[in-house]
Symmetry: none
Subunit: 202 residues, 4 copies
DNA sequence: AATGAATGAGGATTCATTCAT
DNA sequence: GATGAATGAATCCTCATTCAT
């Protein structure tokens, strides 16, 4: 009569101090899943519940709404960085990783470009450095003379990031399959070759 | 126990039934502006306030959240149809009109493609016919053999609509100028020529 | 987009002055049906819509919520009076008419007894005279010495009206059939014989 | 854009989690009183206010309208069960407890029978088990061969519950005294002996 | 350091009632 | 007289955020 976790419980509880780091990770993982299913406007309480922690813990680790979203995004970016830093990293291969993340949740990579004018998130506060890291990683493995290469002109549009934004705009659809199909079609329309769509494998 | 209209306080206005049509138009206009600034999740009360009418009027004209959004979108689509139906309508010209609307509010043309999985809007309920009308108008003035033309294969991806979605993904930025710059860059990346970005002039 | 009569429309419109009497009747009939289905708390707008008239007309004829309920109840009571006034009127026969009305809508005959403490209706304002008329009609055909007859003691409980209230308490159930079954069982428990359950036939 | 707790104004109270149990009890008590005076349609906000808690607390403990009503009713039923389980429990004695509850608020025991067709409450969802418990308790102390005993026929009407419903129909009136007088008169009309009308004394 | 209850503002929605036409 | 649009108060419900334990 008084309970209503409704669903979303994951771990039995999780008390005691040492769990701090684990809690943080659980929150980020929970947020990723919740965001993927319910969008960025999902109630924070749902994230906490899914992570199996109290609301207070969420606030301890992430003082405001943006910071948890950033944390999720940060993981995405890190994977892209790692993919780009790998031994035989190719541009097409890294784009495959990027595309995989887009397919999982276009909203997220989309955040890298968002200006926040229309949403509750303000990317210029949220992701500027993440955006920079993402761009750098991608640019790092771009072959010389590639059509997405930034020209010499200093303030010319950054075609590389623009292209990613465009693909993220295309990635809509109810199922991952449909979303992946659209992502690949979008890259094709841009004339860009993409490697296998998959998460980065350390 | 039930409702009662204030106690007695002076009732303001009530401009009478004559105002109905005007109110509806005001609501749509208000919604367009509010959506552009605050996004599709803006409180309905804000729209009503901006339109200068009571909450009830909004609900009378638009029984649910989708229907007001549809009304705004419908106007956009109509303009595109009119642009496409005009005398010397060219594909590039119509794309210019489309782009103008994207620049005003990418969210809206975006709705045409949205699947609503993550948001409160469910395009398959909201815009399927609008989407169809939009696609038809655009396709109608697509030159034969254009690279966005649908191939013979029946269930091949619709490159035309995909391209619009991609551009809408690119159109982000705090100012209209920035947004227009990005839109044009996106079309350029796609290798598509666009006419002047402007509203349709009857 | 602007319409939502939802249902409940009955007559095409109904305009013009002379219709006043007809409108009143239509409203009472509509109210009876609406009350039976949706209960006494049904929105007034629904009654007006069902009657095929504007809201204003309802207010013209019935200035407040109680007065329309009274009007419906008045018709019920009138039928009982007529049944009681008929040639070979028997107590059992009249009880059959009463029971028929209870089965149609227990709420209504219930109003005759209600004190309004718990509801929005205040019977002492609503139905005192109706209640009196109802009691008189019923008492009029009560055989001498019947067990429900009022004793000589002046302020003894009025068993006759109490019995009706009791039966109305028993008349619950989703279908008319079930409701009638319960009504008859209730009279039986009271040891009272009831004639055929049917409306009064002039 | 979203919520924010006042701007900064001093937060009142928050008596801490310890208050939880107390709050729940206070809510049930408040609901009982409010229902008795204003009926089952009373605004939930009024109950919360009377209990001295925020709206949210009410929703935490009772996720929907029915569940708070159930909680109140459950207490009633429990008392009847306890009365029936007591040492020298007699049928008349238990009926006295039942009658006491009816006098307090006929609406509640009435819920046990309600079908909800016309109201917002749907007894088949709300009270079926409570109804069953109530019936069982009462039947448990019914002397063999009592006139309200269920006959052998399997689907014969349950006279016991019918009688309670009838009495609850009779229990109307502005004051408890009047209500008790009517309840007793109703039992008398049924030829049923009732013990002292009083709450169950552990 | 974690828990999860409490708070209350804000937004959605409904309807009684008025009133211009 | 009739129509039905407009008004806005009231209620429902949700959730961000705080804080006692």
């Amino acid at each position: 009569m008084t309970q209503h976790p409704t669903s979303d419980a994951r771990r039995p509880a999780n008390r005691g101090p040492k769990a701090a780091a684990g809690n943080r990770a659980a929150l980020v993982a929970a947020a990723r899943e919740i965001y993927a299913v319910h969008g960025l406007d999902a109630p924070l309480s749902r994230i906490a519940r899914r992570a199996g922690v109290g609301q207070g813990v969420l606030y301890r680790h992430f003082p405001d709404r943006d910071s948890i979203a950033s944390a999720v995004l940060e993981e995405n970016v890190r994977q892209v960085e790692e993919a780009a830093a790998g031994e035989g990293a190719s541009f097409a291969g890294v784009l495959g990783v990027v595309t995989w993340h887009l397919v999982q949740s276009a909203a997220f990579i989309g955040l890298l470009h968002a200006d926040g004018a229309n949403g509750r998130f303000h990317a210029h506060a949220l992701a500027p450095d993440l955006s920079e890291r993402f761009a750098r990683a991608l640019r790092g493995c771009l072959p010389d003379g590639h059509r997405l290469a930034a020209p010499d002109a200093p303030d010319a549009p950054d075609d590389l990031m623009l292209a990613v934004a465009m693909v993220s705009g295309a990635v809509i659809g109810p199922t991952p399959e449909e979303r992946e199909r659209r992502a690949l079609a979008a890259w094709r329309l841009l004339g860009i070759t993409v490697g296998p769509v998959a998460p980065f494998q350390g």
